[in-house]
Amino acid sequence: MSACFTEDMLLSFSEQKLSDADASAVSAHLDGCSDCRIIVSELARGQTEAHVNEPERPLVRGSALGRYLVLEQIGAGGMGVVYAAYDPDLDRRVALKLLRHAGGEKQRARLVREARAMARLSHPNVAPVFGVETLGDRVFVVMEFIVGENARRWAREERTAAEVLDVFVQAGRGLEAAHHAGIVHRDFKPDNMMVRPNGRVSVLDFGLARPAGEGAPGVEVERPASPSSLTETGTVMGTFAYMPPEQRLGLPTDARADQYAFCVSLHEVLYGAPPTEAPKRTPKVGAVVTRVLARGLQPDAAARFPDMQALLVELERARAPARRWGWAVAAAAALGSVAVAGALLGGAEPCAGGEAEVARAWGTEQREAVARAFAAGGTSPDAIRAALDGYRAKWVGAQREACEATRVKGVQSEELLDRRMLCLGARKAALGATARALASGGPSLQRAPLAVAQLPLIDDCADARWLLEAVPPPSDAATRAKLAEVRERLATVNALTELGRVDEGTPLAAAVVAEARQLGYAPLLAEALESQVDLLRWGLETTPIEVAAWHGVQAALQSRDDRLQARAWLNLGDVVGTIMRRPAEGHHLLDVAKTAIDALEAPGLLEAGWYRSTGKLLEIEGDAEAAIASFHQALERYSSDPRTPRGVETWVWRRIAINHQWARQHDLAETAARKAVELAEKDVTGASQLDIALSTLADALRSKHDYEGARSTLARSLALSRKSGSTRRVAINLMTLGELERDAGDLARAEDWFLQLAACAEQLPDPNPYFAQALGLLGSVQLLRKDTATAVRTLTKSVSLFDRFGLQNDLETVPFRLSLVEAELAAAERALAEPRLEHVLGVLGAAKADAKVLAQPRFHAARLAWQTGKRPLAVQLATTALAASAGEEHGEISDWLSKHAAGR
């Protein structure tokens, strides 16, 4: 072993700062020296896990913080120090709030999340947060450097009540907007309201006032002698005098805490003293203001106004007579634009074009066309029409809001406006494409509500950080036009997919992917590939799905869009694990997906999707219990999210039922299946899932020997599936019927059902594992009926079909393989039976020993192994099976063992 390298060298190696020659020398050393290797691993870990325990050091003028140059300290508070700084890139002055170390990764992540949420919030009365940056393990928030004075200083001059109310109504609007975005201020006070020279008020320091170590807002406070002595310094986490009782006590607080602080502040500025002290002034305010204050200052949060908006409506009333013209003119002057004043005073509105624009995607013409299509199908279009109208209204609101932020209020950059409009354009295209696809009618209308529910979220277009982080869209007009066109076509692909019109969608998707690739705009390509994967999932060929999913990951990585990346990894993990049936690798990829999802601020349904995919992988691996746990995790997230697509929960409950059944937990299986049926029944469009849910329930009942219940459930299910015209669904029902009669002991009827099943399954397109399964079931019953020769033929065909589909080692095929071995032994075909048994034993050996699913096959294998003379192995197998078995099965195995184990 070569001598160890210095820590300096290892550090340079881990930061990739070495020359190639040095690096390979270190590499070679790491191979033989576990100490150095562990050190490098620790360094690699350290670079991703920052530790936060640094004592603060004040920054001096001229020091650099990231790309910013510190100018001077302008304040310090509980959550950190504020510096004025210069941003050389944008040539502007900014305020940097260097956050106090937040005690741990989690707390820090929360601070970052909140600051990011603030950065997304664009409102004239909220001080703009440009971003949040991390430097090593320090976090700082970059904010607008506001010229002006805080409301406390502002109030030192004589102010009329009307002026005070105007300032507070503005500040209240800022709070209201933040509350809507889910952010609570928790330290609102006059010091945090900046009044600009033009009269506009901006609220500062949202959501940052929490003690470092705790999730709950703070009780770690210093009580100031009087409010006026409250300076910017000190370690106050939320300021005592402004805190409602619940916050002082450290109880959970919500937006209503801000209402209380708002009213204390208003009282203080109006009367020159907080509500607890004698007033120093007697302003002319009406009874309305007194009432507002009294209600907002209620110690019991429930007794206050329901929200800021309700409070402001009241306050506006107090202000109304004094306002009149003054408001519009003052606002216009504040914005410093004559054109805007004209607009406000009744001229043309600069942002009113949205309504007309979206009407081209979903307007009178489209409404009528869709109504005609539904009429032809004999169903009512009302629900769909209402949903699309709602989407359209939301779009118009978002379009206006985006436009006004730049054109009227001047609080948003042109660049951001551009991206928001592109984002909205994509949503308009999706609306138009869905409308067109619906208008062309057909049986797919059944899936219409699903398609509408899957329309891309409009709220995403207000997400500034997300929009700005992605690669910039091309700037030349020709490429942009082409981009819009491809987007339009992509929207059509998505609409067709959601409606299940795979044959039309597939060629179009391929074309769109090619076009997107040619345009070279990664985000669009990533989306196109995602859509292609969704479409290919409906088909039967698997390899192209994996290829598309890998390409999707590549494009998503290039797009720099973290949501696309998370989705792409998840998609890939799911495809590799469940479709390609390589669960180990699937878990691997889902690991990466989890990292990506965890890094998202708003993972939305992706977490649920992750648990769903993980559950599927675990199910394939035969780990029913872990699968069930993962499915429950998914459900927890689905059920609390209004955006959950229809039918997903039904699907998950069904999988839970099936896994319980495999784990021989029949009561739990029945409960879960009933839950699936209940959900499917509630879903008005749910005809599509109800039959499958019913057949799952029937299966659960069958396992509990409730044959009558199972039969009647199946009758209903079979009728539904015949009506749906889906061969696959009819097949599932026939299968359950056959299994039911087999278990009930009526082998003749079972064989009859399975014959019907085989005939039905044979119609499905190749490669057709359903047909192989049907033959397997049929053969197993023939074996039970002692029709050995026929059973061998049927089962041989089944197994060779499975093999042809590459399912040699698939656990689900094991029972059929064992049946074939048994049939071959019965037919005295030992030469065929023995190698086949060897193979099955290998597959079983590779599977988890405690998998309840495998108890029965293992026991079956044990009996066959015994029969072929492998007695010790047989006993071992049965012992393993016994440990994982339950109920009557357990008894059966232990009986067998007591008879055979002794005599081996």
């Binding site: 050190i39 640094e54 878990h587």
Partner: protein, 255 residues
Amino acid sequence: MASLDEQFAKAQSAWPGVELAREDFEAWLEGRDAKHADELYLACACVKGVPRAHETFEARYFGDLRSLGRFGSDAFIDDVKQELRQRLFFGVNGKPKLEEYGGKGALKQWLAAVATRVALNLKRTHNDERFASLDGDDGLFELPLDEAGPELGHMKEHYRAEFKKAFAEALATLDVEARTYLRQYYLDGLGLVQLAKLYGSSAPTVSRRLSAARAKLLEATRAVLSQRLKVTKVELESILRLIESRLSADALGGR
């Protein structure tokens, strides 16, 4: 690049109360990377025994050593700290370890490297058993097979020696990097993202390389074993599958 005066002023204000002579600082920067001038200032002050330097160093950097928790208890970390004090400030033979810090990276990271080495040495002298699994490739072989059921546990016990040998031979057939990848992934518990960052590569690439290395390792083990062992093909397959499943699932962590 800032002038020496600026660097000195900045470093001075970075460590209030630690007064290093300007000429000492200047001489110290010689041959070191001035990018981390502040940290070199403190390192020099510690070596020169400037008043309050040691306390300042400990206050600033020793807190981070909590990350060594994966090697042992708080008491163990205290031992590591004690040993570090000795080595960093005074040295084992009069040459303080901090002299070696050349400013190639952040002092905090450098210290993490030194501390890890100290921790490993201490573990070794304590003859800690948990450590043994980190040490050699035994750890790779010893990935738990116990849950796998009685029959396979038995086989592993039975063929243990042959198996270990085959495994070691197989491991030797991999290339240096593949071996290091496997060890860092399975033994040191680095994630895909961390590995990708370490080797300036991407997570999918790392994932593919790991899979390839694992496949090759198993293939080679299979080849060696089937030559040497007289187990039936089924038994051999079972054992290998078992290792494969452990390598791919459990060692992935989180399951």
